[in-house]
């Protein structure tokens, strides 16, 4: 219902899709813990961050976390079994190490010793079991329930916690980095979900839901070379102009989700640095493959040629992003099909395909709300404007932000949507493009594509796999039912007093929520 | 009398010209008037509405109302040139040396403050005395003004005090700084005749006691005759003539003045007595009121064809309530109203359209009785259209015909709005609207009391003419006995919701009277300058005896 919540919807959905997709496959193997920071951090200072997505209904219960504010707040207070490092690799956090059975259906995590909670209680494997169980079971109302459903049993074996899965999953350690799966202190096999206690680098000082949270450094933090600030204040600022103002007036040091309309102006302000990380986040317009007129590939192609991607990157992303080529694989990916012809704005081609489809003109409705992604309505308007030259009439329908994912997404035949992206093509394709999967938002079903997806998953030869993914990208581009006009960066801004590591994580905004641990005052 | 003119001159006005603005154009409303007033002298300014008498009175204070400006002449008050003096100096005079008594004390007292607070304001603000002195002084003056409970009355709010008392309190307030000059602007016009006597005598006495000069503005000759040393007659901003009171009354020079005097003599011929025909309207033993209070108590009277029954009484006597019962706006608790011998449904909403048509009403205030947004065509035409079903040409013809009946030129007036008419013309429209329904019976509720005498005269004559032409029965509600004298066939005198006396007019104006009728009759001012003095003496003797 309210604009201010769009931003939140984004992260919530992204993770979940990503997290479920993990069950399919992943290539990243356990690695030792290493520091992401190259420069020498200094200690001290109070970091003030203005963040979107805070709400008065926020809770300390990890089962309900969904928006950026609570995610960053959590990163201050708690740890997980595993952590995604700034370079995208997986490192252990509260798990010192882990190993899998040969079929990858049993996972044994060695729990770090000598870690204490803020309350002084020592971390035990029981706490881990209780923390994960909080999301499981019949009565679980956790957002993370779908991703822990694969766990059939959890056992303690000395310092280890052993997870038994329904089937083999090489990516299970990845799952354990999910931000819901915070490790909290337990008693009698249950955690107190709302105590606010944790093993993290900062201890709660005060918290008012939807307003602010203040934490101070945990003097007993177990991690070396992390959590440099004396204290951190998180402010929930929903209005993007207010966030900018707070940064300009020096009332906060870091803001997230910079308004792309004015990012250029903000970058020229003295003492302010823009930080943009480009990863896998991309914006899409899925079309319902099952329904006319989108069931005709010529119509889909006509629409793909009828929008100006360069302009969208420029005007919707403020230049912070890259054009998309109607498939979900980002240009940074090792499997990216660079030689694929780039779809560009070409009204003649669009007209041609329209004619092929036996039409002189096309009238469609495009549903959008800024809940889908910031600027979605404007993007739809630009689309509509450019498409007119090709005889395509796109009527932009602005839907309420409120309940957009409930009422519009996957319900209206043509709408705006977004993906946080996934580290591997298989993961991404499996989440949203494989026939019949829950988040196949376009209801696309391509035999050849589905076949390739299965074989690629089990193919170990890199060259062959590359060929397969290449072909899949091409199929997606030529026959897919999703228009992917752009890849969007996470755009943050901070005062030049704040120092950041050379490598900043791209999996989420604010250094994968971990700016609170990884950044410092220069 | 002569002694006063030997006193020093207080106020000299020469060639006074005042302009008024309407719709962004200025036009002269006072056209060169001269006034000379000696200390302690009372000048009566008399004229009809629009004569500029109030404007002149205010100009004597160096004051012009919003939308007016003094454009020429000199105003010299005791050596001070009020036109040239700065506003602060003029303000210093007002309330202190020149005071003002307004027509309606009820409207001119601030409803938010107690009387005594308002009394004390001028003396304290002008630094004449401090608050406690002023309060003591107020009690003294209230006593002299013969107000009841002089110690206590000042602590009441204006709405808690009756109109006659308020008018005296206002005179007391004007006297607070012992001014040299008081402007009385129609101070008794809004009062009942019996109350008027008390106020007039109190004013006259206090002015004499403090030897204050006064300008007494009124349209009522008989009143001014009691109050003024000399009289100036005004007509449309021009001076007609000025003379000392007795001379003026005895021997007016100008035609206009004579015509003013003559008004008083109109009386319609005496009608033959009624036979035993069925009365058009018959009020039978009606008791009515609001809530638990009975306003009317067992009222009976009949009105016959071609007859005018005047219902006379002071405010609160129930005469208007009687009209409301007849029209059906108020259902009686007991009794009934017969029309042509048949009982009317008590509530107008249950009456048939024809019953509604047969009884029409003309209101006191034509301003509020005519919808200001409708043109005369619609105002008059509507009843004809509704009751008689006239349309198109026939309707227009009827409207023109009605306008002719009320002596207004149809071509000129048919498309005017009420705001484009004079007071008398508006009242004529009210009459035409009643006639348009072709009724048998018309209630005239104080139809002339808001009008100047000459105009009222015209209306009365018109009503008279129409009555004989259409054989109408009139119920004429009034508090003015002069009107009764000129138009009534029969008189019903009411007091406190009861009929005190009723009968044919000639009998009513002949003794013996009911005491209340006697009081009413004797309270009507007469042109004799000694009338008030004599009357008060008479009453005092009666009380003593």
């Amino acid at each position: 219902m309210f604009n201010s919540h769009n931003d939140g919807g984004l992260s919530r959905r992204g993770l979940l899709k990503g997290a479920t997709a993990l069950s399919a496959s992943a290539l990243i193997l356990p690695a030792g813990m290493r520091s992401a920071a190259a420069a020498e951090p200094k200690k001290g200072g109070t970091l003030r961050i203005a963040i979107t997505g805070g709400s008065t209904t926020d809770s300390l219960d990890p089962a309900t976390w969904s928006e950026l504010f609570v995610q960053v707040f959590a990163a201050c207070r708690v740890n997980y079994l595993t952590e995604i490092a700034a370079d995208g690799s997986l490192v252990g956090e509260l798990a010192e190490s882990w190993e899998a059975s040969a079929d990858a259906a049993t996972w044994r995590f060695k729990i770090r010793s000598g870690v204490t909670f803020h309350s002084g209680k020592s971390l035990t494997p029981e706490d881990v079991v209780a923390s994960i169980n909080h999301h499981r079971g019949e009565d679980s109302k956790s957002a993370a329930k779908p991703i822990v459903e694969q766990i059939t049993n959890i056992e303690i074996d000395g310092e280890n916690v052993v997870f038994t899965l329904t089937a083999g999953n090489a990516d299970f350690p990845f799952v354990m980095s999910d931000y819901h799966l915070a490790i909290l202190p337990s008693a009698d096999g249950k955690i107190d979900a709302t105590s606010g206690d944790g093993t993290g680098g900062y201890i709660i000082d005060s918290w008012e839901a939807g307003v602010n949270a203040k934490v101070k450094r945990n003097p007993n933090y177990w991690k070396e070379g992390r959590a440099h600030f004396d204290a951190i204040e998180l402010y929930s600022i929903l209005d993007s102009a207010a966030r900018q103002n707070a940064l300009i007036t020096g009332e906060v040091d870091v803001i997230d989700k910079v308004d792309t309309n004015t990012v250029g102006l903000l970058s020229r302000a003295p003492g302010i640095k823009i930080l943009a990380t480009t990863g896998t986040q991309h914006f899409v317009f899925p079309m319902d493959y099952r329904a006319a007129p989108f069931s005709d590939n010529n119509v889909r192609l006509a629409l793909k040629y009828a929008l100006d991607r360069e302009e969208m990157v420029e005007k919707i992303l403020g230049g912070y992003g890259a054009v998309g080529n109607d498939h979900p694989i980002g240009p940074g990916d090792q499997f990216f099909a660079a030689d694929l012809e780039q779809h560009a704005y070409d009204p003649d081609k669009a007209k041609f395909h329209l004619k092929e489809a036996g039409m002189d003109s096309l009238n469609v409705q495009l549903s959008a709300a800024d809940a889908a992604f910031a600027g979605a309505v404007d993007a739809a308007v630009l689309f509509s404007e450019k498409a007119a030259a090709a005889g395509i009439n796109i009527e932009v329908v602005r839907e309420p932000n409120d309940a957009y994912w409930d009422n519009v997404w996957m319900k209206k035949p043509f709408c705006a949507s977004y993906w946080g992206g996934r580290p591997t093509p298989d993961w991404m394709f499996t989440t949203a493009y494989a026939a019949g999967v829950p988040w196949n938002e376009s209801f696309w079903d391509n035999g050849r594509f589905n076949e390739l997806l299965l074989s690629a998953r089990s193919e170990l030869d890199f060259a062959k796999r590359k060929d397969m993914y290449h072909e899949m990208q091409m199929i997606c581009q030529k026959e897919g039912s999703t228009i992917t006009p752009m890849f969007a960066s996470y755009v943050m801004a901070h005062s030049d007093k704040v120092a950041t590591p050379d490598v900043v994580a791209t999996n989420w905004g604010l250094d994968g929520f971990r700016c609170v641990e990884r950044w410092w005052f220069a | 009398m002569t002694s006063k003119t030997e006193k020093p001159v207080l106020l000299t006005i020469r060639g006074l010209r005042i302009e008024g603005r309407s719709e962004e154009t200025w036009s002269e409303i006072v056209k060169g008037v001269d006034i000379t007033l000696h200390k302690g002298e009372v000048l009566g300014l008399i004229g009809e509405s629009g004569a500029g008498k109030s404007t002149i009175g205010l100009a004597a204070m160096g004051f012009a109302r919003d939308g007016c400006r003094i454009s020429g002449g000199t105003i010299d008050f005791d050596g001070i040139d009020l036109r040239k003096a700065p506003e602060t100096e003029r303000r210093g005079l007002r309330g202190k040396r020149i005071a003002y008594v307004a027509q309606s004390a009820a409207a001119s007292f601030n409803p938010a403050h107690k009387l005594i607070d308002q009394y004390c304001e001028a003396p304290v603000q002008h630094g004449v005395m401090d608050r406690s002195e002023a309060e003591g002084d107020a009690v003294e003056l209230y006593r002299r003004m013969r107000l009841p409970n002089p110690e206590e009355i000042g602590f009441r709010y204006p709405h808690q005090v009756s109109g006659g008392q308020l008018q005296r309190a206002m005179t007391a307030m004007a006297m607070a700084c012992r001014p040299d000059l008081i402007i009385f602007d129609e101070p008794t016009t809004a009062l009942d005749v019996t109350t008027q006597i008390e106020v007039l005598s109190a004013i006259r006495d206090i002015v004499a006691q403090f030897d204050t000069a006064a300008i007494y503005i009124t349209h009522d000759l008989a009143v001014v005759a009691q109050m003024a040393d000399k009289i100036k007659v005004l007509l449309k901003g021009d001076e007609v003539e000025e003379a000392d009171t007795r001379t003026m009354l005895a021997n007016p020079q100008q035609d206009y003045t004579k015509s003013l005097w003559a008004v008083r003599s109109y009386a319609r011929p005496v009608q033959p007595p009624v036979t035993d025909a069925t009365p058009v309207v018959s009020v039978k033993a009606v008791t009515a009121g609001y809530g638990a209070v009975d306003i009317l108590k067992n009222i009976n009277f009949d009105i016959h064809k071609r007859r005018t029954v005047a219902v006379v009484g002071e405010s609160g006597s129930g005469k208007s309530t009687a009209a409301r019962v007849i029209t059906g706006l108020l259902s009686p608790r007991q009794g009934q109203v017969l029309f042509d011998g048949k009982a009317l449904p008590p509530d107008y909403r249950n009456r048939s359209r024809d019953q509604l048509r047969q009884a029409q009403m003309i209101y006191q205030m034509a301003d509020t009785a005519l919808n200001p947004k409708l043109r005369l065509r619609d105002l008059i035409g509507r009843p004809a259209q509704m009751y008689l079903g006239l349309q198109g040409k026939a309707l227009t013809e009827r409207i023109r015909n009605l306008l002719e009946l009320i002596e207004l030129e149809p071509d000129q007036y048919i498309d005017r709005l009420p705001s484009e008419l004079s007071g008398g013309q508006k009242q004529r429209i009210g009459i035409a609207r009643a006639l348009a329904a072709e009724p048998k019976f018309i209630i005239c509720d104080e139809v002339t009391s808001a009008l100047d005498q000459l105009v009222a005269e015209g209306i009365l004559k018109l009503l008279d003419k129409l009555q004989s032409e259409f054989e109408l029965a009139y119920m004429f509600i009034t508090h003015d006995l002069a009107t009764v004298k000129s138009i009534a066939d029969e008189v019903v005198v009411m007091k406190d919701g009861r009929v005190v006396e009723q009968g044919p007019k000639p009998e009513m104006f002949q003794p013996p009277h009911d005491p209340y009728t006697e009081l009413l009759l004797s309270s009507v001012p007469e042109m004799d300058p000694d009338w008030l003095t004599n009357l008060l003496n008479e009453r005092k003797q009666k009380e003593n005896s």
């Binding site: 219902m1 309210f2 604009n3 201010s4 769009n6 102009a241 900018q244 103002n245 300009i248 308004d259 309309n261 004015t262 250029g264 102006l265 903000l266 302000a269 302009e311 420029e314 005007k315 709300a369 800024d370 309505v377 404007d378 739809a380 308007v381 630009l382 509509s384 404007e385 450019k386 932009v396 329908v397 602005r398 839907e399 309420p400 932000n401 409120d402 | 603005r21 719709e23 962004e24 154009t25 919003d66 939308g67 029209t327 059906g328 706006l329 107008y348 009456r351 359209r353 509604l356 009403m361 209101y363 509020t368 009785a369 005519l370 919808n371 947004k373 409708l374 009843p383 509704m386 329904a437």
Partner: protein, 307 residues
């Protein structure tokens, strides 16, 4: 010093505006005759200025396609281009011509605001007059309902209703009109209560006039002055309501240009001292001031004060 210069320009602008107002009034008087000219002669310069502005807005709104240099939704350049000879007021965030958008917005905004206000007034005043005329239980029921609706904060109420029913222009008009109608009802009722006690209403009732005619012919014409004055203010508040709704994500459907949403879209630029967002806001402000200048004059006439 710069303040002085700014003040100087403000003074010049005011002088020019008043001069234009005076000229317009003079021209209007010259071109009309009879009662209209007499009425116009009572208009102060501010009212002349107000009428001139309203006239300009109406002309712009009606002839928007002829006046505007580009199409309403046409993307003509990069985003936020500076003012130049082609794009007199630069471009907006999507690279649409700002001047064009402003001109079309006049049509849309004024149209929507007018429709909303008109609807609110028809509903509010008919019910208000009815309540005052009939009185009794009808009055009680209607007044209580209005009291209840007014006790729910307008913005929250609008948000609830729009979320439930969706955000098409029609629904927005209906929702805002409903909320505004409660305010109009109160005014109409209180004005009518003063009128129904007048003798001419009594005369009409005694004549046997029906309720409808009583309301439309006898009461309504006399209640017009305060209602028109309220219309002026309400009309302007509709822009603000739309703007506030658009702040909360529920405004006019894109790509329709409307001032309220345009203020919202460009508002964050003010943080950087860019005056672009002042343009639509200024358009609203100018119209508000103009309408109320005229309304003030009409109220003044109705009040009968002669100064």
């Amino acid at each position: 010093m710069s303040i002085l210069i700014n003040l100087f320009w403000v003074a010049v602008a005011v002088a020019v505006a008043m001069g234009a107002g005076w000229l317009f009034r003079a021209a209007a008087i010259a071109l009309t005759k009879g009662a209209t000219a007499r009425m116009l002669r009572t208009a102060p310069v501010t009212a002349g200025f107000g009428m001139l502005v309203i006239l300009i807005y109406v002309v712009v709104a009606i002839f928007a396609p002829l006046i505007a240099p580009f199409q309403e939704r046409e993307v003509v350049g990069a985003q936020f281009m500076v003012w130049d000879s082609v794009h007199k007021l630069g471009t907006d965030n999507l690279g649409r011509d700002m001047l064009t958008r402003l001109i079309y917005a006049a049509r849309n905004t004024v149209g929507i605001a007018f429709a909303t206000t008109a609807l609110a007034f028809v509903a509010g005043s008919v019910l208000g007059l009815l309540a005052a005329t009939v009185g009794g239980w009808l009055d009680q029921v209607l007044s209580r309902i209005v009291d209840i609706l007014m006790a729910i904060p307008a913005l929250v109420f609008a948000l609830l209703l729009l979320t439930i029913f969706g955000t098409s222009v029609l629904k927005m008009v209906l929702v805002i009109a409903t909320i505004d109608a409660t305010r109009v009802f109160r005014l109409a009722r209180s004005v009518a209560q003063d009128i129904v006690v007048m003798d001419y209403i009594e005369a009409a009732k005694l004549r046997g006039e029906g309720l409808w005619r009583l309301i439309t012919r006898e009461i309504l014409p006399n209640a017009m002055a305060p209602l028109v004055a309220e219309f002026g203010l309400r009309f302007c508040f509709v822009f603000l309501m739309i703007s506030a709704l658009s702040f909360l994500g529920l405004g006019v459907q894109p790509p329709t240009a409307d001032w309220g949403s345009m203020v919202r879209e460009n508002a964050s630029l003010i943080t950087f001292g860019d005056i672009t967002p002042l343009l639509p806001a200024g358009a609203i402000a100018l119209l508000t001031v103009a309408v109320n200048f005229v309304v003030d004059w009409m109220l003044h006439r109705a009040s009968g004060l002669k100064e």
